[in-house]
């Protein structure tokens, strides 16, 4: 397997996330499946403490975030060597409800190769170690959302 030829895309961007463009970049002639996760701004939250969101304002420690996204991609390749292409993109700035904010896509030859798990691992890991934060602005004011994961040495 020529792993070195497998495309890996990772970036923090202020631009719209272009799914078709990213998918084309991680599709090889040997690719037959892609698992894609994308998250968007939720305007109305009913789970937990119900509330409404006007917009989210994202910021990032960009050079570290991109290095940690590459680390997430490396971890995916170590756990699922069958994965062909990987795209990890986080959009930052002021983002309104229904707008996609993050995208993780993994491609493989077939769907029953663990490619779904690989994409899920990617988003879970991004939310643990990639330095990005969001401030939630709603009718009742604004509040930074804080995660709860404390990285361990070596992460």
């Amino acid at each position: 397997m020529q792993t070195s030829n497998f495309p890996t895309i990772y970036s923090i961007t202020e631009s719209e996330i272009d799914l078709n463009d990213l998918l084309a970049k991680i599709t090889l002639t040997s690719t037959g499946a892609a698992a894609i996760f994308t998250g968007m701004v939720r305007g109305v939250t009913s789970r937990g403490e119900a509330h409404e969101t006007e917009y989210l304002e994202y910021e990032s420690y960009i050079p570290m975030a991109e290095a940690k996204m590459k680390q997430v991609a490396d971890e995916i390749r170590e756990k699922w060597p069958i994965v062909e292409g990987i795209a990890i993109v986080q959009r930052i700035g002021k983002l309104y409800p229904k707008t996609p904010t993050v995208l993780i896509a993994c491609t493989a030859a077939h769907r029953n190769t663990g490619v779904f798990d690989a994409a899920r691992y990617g988003i879970d890991r991004l939310k643990e170690i990639v330095p990005v934060w969001k401030k939630e602005v709603g009718p009742d004011g604004q509040e930074w959302v804080e995660g709860d994961y404390i990285p361990k040495p070596g992460e």
């Binding site: 420690y61 991004l126 939310k127 330095p131 934060w133 969001k134 404390i150 990285p151 992460e155």
Partner: protein, 82 residues
Amino acid sequence: MNHIKLLFFATIRDRAGTKSMEMDIPADMTILQLKEKLGIDHPNLKESMKSVLVTINREYAFDEAVVPSNAEIALFPPVSGG
């Protein structure tokens, strides 16, 4: 003395009132001692220093680590991307 650059993000930046600052610290200062110093120099940050995440040159760092010269140190709350 070691010269270092500090970067603040999210809640920590709001409380510090600035995105970054530069400072000189003793050559053997640890992350724990740096957090204590910041809490004393900037009382607004004192409470945040208990749960803050710290990086040295873009890698997560922990209390016992010694801060190297010319380090880029970042302080921020647990991440909330996605």
